[in-house]
């Protein structure tokens, strides 16, 4: 899966979850500051992504995900498609 494809899928899912227009979201969008996600919502986001992409994300990896771009990079790395 290409990074752009992963990004599109992630953005669509997040737009729906946080009630935003997908066009408002980009790689630099921050979960906490821009989407007003609390720490538990962030965990849920990660759990959703694990399921959608059939990847496994450790608790320690969750902590490093602060922006949409970082989430996309992490999934891309897991899927072996490179960042």
């Amino acid at each position: 899966m290409e990074r752009a494809e992963i990004q599109a899928k992630v953005t669509t899912a997040l737009a729906e979850r946080f009630d935003k227009d997908a066009s408002e979201l980009s790689d630099s969008t921050r979960f906490a500051e821009d989407l007003d996600a609390d720490s538990l919502e962030l965990v849920e986001v990660v759990l959703d992504l694990e399921e959608s992409f059939s990847v496994s994300i450790d608790e320690s990896e969750m902590e490093d995900v602060k922006t949409i771009g970082e989430a996309v990079d992490l999934i891309a790395a897991k899927l072996g498609s490179g960042a």
């Binding site: 538990l40 965990v43 849920e44 759990l47 399921e51």
Partner: protein, 250 residues
């Protein structure tokens, strides 16, 4: 009815070889939950109980689970997930008790008590939360003790571990309460188990005198409360610390 029972979430009870744990596992199985019975060192009791549940038409699995061993916890959960499915009901029942005056109490016994009763419950809770978050439903029941609420001489480690469990219960209930997951604790008083059957007669008499019910409780009387907390009917009970002690701490 059959459909309802078929949909009951999988329950995992730690320390389920005997006593309260076993009675709780049996009670959960009776209400239709597939049940995993965790044991540390005595497979016999857990396997007997699992066989009895299976024989009665339920689903059960005895699984080796030393709550003091983090990797063993993960292994046990994987086994339960593969055999029965994701854990929706966790009963942190495994416990260790060794009484002794603080002045001569060994650091090793302190560590074992805290590792089993408190750290073990935390590790099992943490391991179960992912699946519960995904399901947006879960029940964690921590088996604390009347010793969490009032002090007994000779029980500084045990009381500390159980009071810690009460604090953890309250914190977790606030952390996950918005996600359909409840976390509650029960505080049993004196219950007829292998733990209490060896008490000297004068000690038993003293405890009975201090319990308004005038007797020890049975494992089934405590299990019934855990079964209720695990049920859909208890959906609005969260962060509660429930005494099941015949009035001991009233």
């Amino acid at each position: 009815m059959t459909e309802d029972v078929a949909a009951r979430p999988v329950a995992l009870v730690t320390g389920a070889s005997r006593g309260l744990g076993r009675a709780t596992a049996e009670g959960l199985a009776e209400t239709g939950h597939p049940v995993a019975l965790g044991y540390r060192s005595d497979p016999g009791g857990a396997e007997d109980a699992a066989a009895a549940i299976t024989g009665a038409g339920g689903r059960a699995l005895a699984v080796q689970l030393d709550v003091a061993d983090e990797s063993a916890i993960d292994q046990a959960f994987k086994e339960v997930e593969a055999e029965l499915g994701p854990v929706g009901v966790l009963v942190n029942n495994a416990g260790y008790v060794k009484d002794g005056l603080a002045i001569a109490y060994s650091t090793e016994a302190w560590d074992t008590t805290l590792d089993t009763n408190l750290r073990g419950a935390f590790l099992c809770s943490r391991r179960s939360l992912r699946a519960m978050m995904k399901a947006r439903w879960g029940r964690i029941v921590n088996v604390a003790s009347a010793a969490a609420l009032r002090g007994n001489p000779g029980q500084s480690a045990y009381s500390a571990s159980k009071a810690g469990l009460v604090g953890m219960t309250r914190s977790l209930s606030r952390e996950y309460g918005s996600r359909g997951i409840t976390v509650n604790a029960i505080c049993p008083g004196f219950v007829e188990t292998r733990l209490t059957e060896d008490y000297p007669p004068e000690v038993k008499a003293f405890y009975i005198e201090n319990t308004p019910a005038g007797r020890f409780g049975t494992p089934e009387e405590v299990a019934a409360v855990v079964v209720f907390l695990a049920s859909a009917a208890a959906s609005y009970v969260n962060g509660a610390i429930i005494s099941v002690d015949g009035g001991l701490t009233a």
